[in-house]
């Protein structure tokens, strides 16, 4: 990724998964590198289990806060079907700078699916791949459960994309740790571990 271009990261998931916190931390890291940053989401009803998508754009100069479809460099999917829903935002493989989708395999079925009104796709990750997009997927929930707290998924996902940013992974990690250090030392340590495990998972 080029420092002179705008980097577009689209973070998507379901209300309550920590999408907005993750994009806030990404923004802080980009600011610390001297980039101009814009971050936007439409999350009016996200608290009620709705769709959340957060756009983070940074570079020497950022105008529109919205990432155009087909121009996301990284799509961070906290939930598999949500990654599929937003997959048309990712840069295709055949474009000059192909984008990467980093997807948590977690499947969260909304009540509308449970009620039998709509079907949940069989394999959303495969569906994203079939569109000719670069996909890395892993089970962030399993890593989070191993660490004892499902809320760590957002830190794990940040770790997973940290090697593909136009600044060092350590910069992002420091921002994650700083945020939790302000609350509790033990949380900072736990998040640092989650970040590292996510980073390793993102490379596979």
């Amino acid at each position: 990724m080029n420092q002179n271009q705008t980097t577009n990261i689209l973070v998507v998931g379901v209300g309550g998964q920590g999408v907005m916190t993750a994009s806030e931390i990404l923004s802080e890291a980009a600011i610390s590198q001297g980039f101009e940053v814009k971050k936007t989401e439409v999350a009016g009803m996200s608290q009620r289990g709705g769709v959340v998508s957060s756009h983070v754009r940074f570079g020497p100069r950022v105008l529109s806060p919205e990432i155009p479809p087909g121009e996301a460099d990284i799509l961070v999917g906290f939930e598999a079907a949500e990654a599929m829903r937003w997959s048309h935002y990712l840069r295709p493989k055949n474009s000059p700078r192909a984008g990467v989708a980093m997807i948590n395999r977690l499947k969260l079925e909304p009540p509308i699916v449970s009620l039998g009104l709509f079907a949940y796709p069989d394999d959303p990750v495969a569906a994203v791949r079939e569109r000719g997009l670069e996909v890395h997927d892993f089970d962030a929930g399993e890593i989070a459960r191993g660490l004892g707290d499902l809320r760590l998924i957002n830190t794990i996902m940040l770790g997973a994309i940290s090697d593909g940013l136009p600044f060092p992974a350590e910069t992002l990690k420091a921002c994650v740790v700083a945020r939790f250090a302000a609350k509790k030392a033990v949380l900072a340590e736990l998040n640092a571990r989650a970040f590292d495990l996510g980073k390793a998972a993102g490379k596979k």
Binding site: T40, Q47, G50, S64, P65, A81, P92
Partner: protein, 624 residues
């Protein structure tokens, strides 16, 4: 929610701020003494942030009209004042606004109006810039958080210079977009040391009001001159003069990104339109294109001034104007885009919708489950979380128009009954905050005019949909401090409802709720059933141990699924034939214990007692 003490960052700090945060800081820096609002997406956080700052008075008002009236009172007492609202809030406040334009202000008065462009959380889409033309008041339109900060400060100065309230027009992409903002220092300014009595100005009886009207139009002329020379209205040259853009607000950023070489006339003060500047600009380009979110306002004025322009003949008249939309719709003016526009924006793949749901254990779930079991009812609804009752699985709300409408509409449905509705019962559903905002008057009308309506007043002690703000039923003020708590039952009685037909009911007790509702819909007169459990998102809600489905006992009846709790999932469906020969679909369920907070609603319709307290599952945190 109690608010932590806040030390405002020093002047000169460069901070990552949303538009709402930046406006709050500017309100403080402008030396505002009084700020008021009613919560509404996307404007809610402005007053939340303001309330964190020291040394100014901030309140949640009961509705937008009151918030504006509070601001007017402070202004004519000499203080700078501020109020904020979402777009539909201005409809409520407009009665005050349309005469405030005659009286004018003393201390600077700024009204922030936030349009929900794209319907993320609203019942309609409005273009609030029309208030500027309608009320002959200046409209300031920031394009990002830094401008939101600067324009808020400038708006107070402008307000005092012209003795006019100033409207700061925002959209979601200002309110909820974060970028870096450099903030300044606070400076207390007072236009007067007290209220100066002057009936010719403050008592708007016809004789006085009439005399002030010419002044409104003279002021608008003076404002047009201000707009013509303001640095907020700037001409940005460009090398590609085939198309010149006139634009304002967030649309400016989209235009700049989509057409980096095009000349742009950016309007920060979009009303009154600086027509001289537009004319000068038009002469420099081949085609003038007006890009505005959302309706055709500037373009109509520009065309009326005899300047040829295009805009809404090519662009959508609803929603946002992001770069890919602009490129797609304006490709006819840019031949090089003709092919690119077709292929540039990849299409989305179809995925099931994920509409917002009520929370696990929400006290409204029991109400909607009960309503969904009733036949022969028409149910008028209102604005709030409980509007979701119109959705699956309940389908138990038939109308939503605006704040408080459930009351008057229920009365009208009763009085206007046709033969098909003769045997139907009319039920109105409204939340505590909406009731106090604009529902009390409707209930008074029902009581006075003897409507045959059963009202469900769902008191969850908070403004739920906007994230749990306090209201007069919560017993706390905007700072989370103890405040007088309104007794809704007493209010209802005072409005004229017979105490024998006012019931307080626990919405988690389905049999009681069902029985009360059945009895009251039979009564030929108005009755009010008040539910009294707190929203699960506020501190008063106490979580209980979780439940789980004991699988061997589950018969697949699906009754628990009908509650609509998002913690209950169908694990498998089976077809079965009843002894009567009737084919039924069975739905076997499970409870997500991590999400369940033990309200116990789902236990009640479960015939085989298959729902039991969950086995505790200890999660161990290990450190290597």
């Amino acid at each position: 929610m109690s608010v932590k003490p806040f030390a405002p960052p020093a002047a000169g700090s460069r901070l990552l701020m949303s538009g709402n945060e930046a406006i709050a800081r500017a309100v403080w820096d402008a030396g505002v003494r009084v700020a008021a609002a009613y919560p509404g997406t996307p404007s809610t956080e402005i007053l939340e942030y303001i309330s964190h700052y020291p040394d100014l008075y901030a309140e949640w008002s009961v509705n937008e009209k009151v918030s504006l009236e509070v601001a007017i009172g402070a202004s004519i007492a000499g203080a700078r004042s501020f109020c904020a609202m979402k777009h539909v809030g201005m409809n409520v406040a407009s009665d005050a606004l349309m005469t405030l334009t005659l009286t004018g202000v003393v201390g600077g008065l700024v009204i922030a109006v936030a349009d929900d462009v794209g319907f993320s959380s609203s019942q309609n889409e409005q273009d609030s810039r029309f208030w500027g033309r309608f009320a002959h008041l200046p409209i300031l339109e920031p394009a990002d958080s830094q401008e939101a900060y600067e324009m808020t400060l400038a708006a107070f100065a402008l307000s005092e210079k012209f003795n006019a309230p100033v409207i700061l027009r925002l959209t979601t992409r200002i309110c909820h977009v974060k970028c870096l903002v450099t903030v300044g220092a606070r400076e207390i300014k007072r236009a007067a040391n007290g209220f100066i009595k002057d009936p010719s100005r403050w008592v708007m009886v016809p004789a006085n009001a009439q005399k002030r009207l010419p002044g409104v139009f003279a002021r608008e002329k003076a404002l047009a001159e201000e707009s013509a020379t303001s640095a907020f209205n700037r001409l940005e040259p460009g090398s590609d003069r085939r198309v010149g853009f006139v634009t304002s607000g967030p649309a400016y950023m989209h235009v700049r990104e989509a057409f980096p070489n095009a000349p742009v006339l950016k309007l920060g003060i979009s009303w009154p339109v600086p027509m001289g500047k537009v004319r000068e600009f038009a002469a420099q380009v081949d085609t003038l294109v007006v890009v505005e979110e959302t309706e055709q306002l500037l373009e109509t004025e520009i065309l009326a001034a005899g300047i040829p322009a295009r805009g809404k003949d090519l662009l959508p008249t609803a929603g946002e104007m992001p770069p890919f939309i602009l490129k797609k719709h304006l490709a006819v003016l840019f031949p090089e885009l003709a092919n690119a526009a077709e292929t540039a924006a990849p299409a989305p793949v179809p995925v099931f919708p994920r509409p917002p749901t009520m929370c696990a254990a929400c006290p409204h779930l029991g109400v909607y489950y009960t309503l969904s079991q009733l036949r022969n009812v028409n149910i008028t609804g209102d604005i709030g979380c409980y509007t979701l009752g119109a959705g699956h699985p309940w389908r138990a709300l038939d109308t939503t128009i605006c704040m408080g409408a459930s009351m008057g509409m229920a009365l009208g449905m009763d009085k206007g009954r046709g033969p098909d509705d003769e045997k139907k019962s009319i039920i109105a559903v409204i939340g505590d905050s909406t009731f106090m905002h604009m529902g009390m008057q409707g209930l008074l009308d029902i009581a006075w005019n003897r409507g045959n309506v059963t009202i469900l007043l769902l008191d969850n002690r908070t403004v739920g949909m906007t994230g749990g703000q306090d209201n007069p039923a919560s017993g706390r003020d905007i700072h989370g401090e103890a405040a007088p708590r309104i007794d809704l039952a007493k209010v209802v009685e005072s409005l004229g409802i017979d105490p024998g037909h006012i019931h307080a009911v626990d919405p988690y007790l389905l049999p009681v709720l069902f029985k009360t509702l059945r009895e009251e819909i039979k009564y030929n007169g108005p009755s009010v059933i008040i539910t009294d459990r707190p929203c699960v998102l506020i501190d008063e809600y106490k979580k209980q141990p979780a439940y789980e489905v004991f699988e061997p006992a589950c018969t697949g009846c699906g009754n628990c699924v009908e509650i609509g709790c998002p913690a209950i999932h169908v694990t498998r469906r089976e077809k079965a034939v009843k002894p009567s020969g009737k084919e039924v679909e069975l739905a076997f369920a499970s409870i997500e214990t991590a999400a369940c907070t033990g309200c116990g609603l789902c236990l009640q319709p479960c015939a085989p007692d298959a729902i039991r307290p969950a086995e505790p599952k200890a999660v161990k945190v290990e450190f290597v």
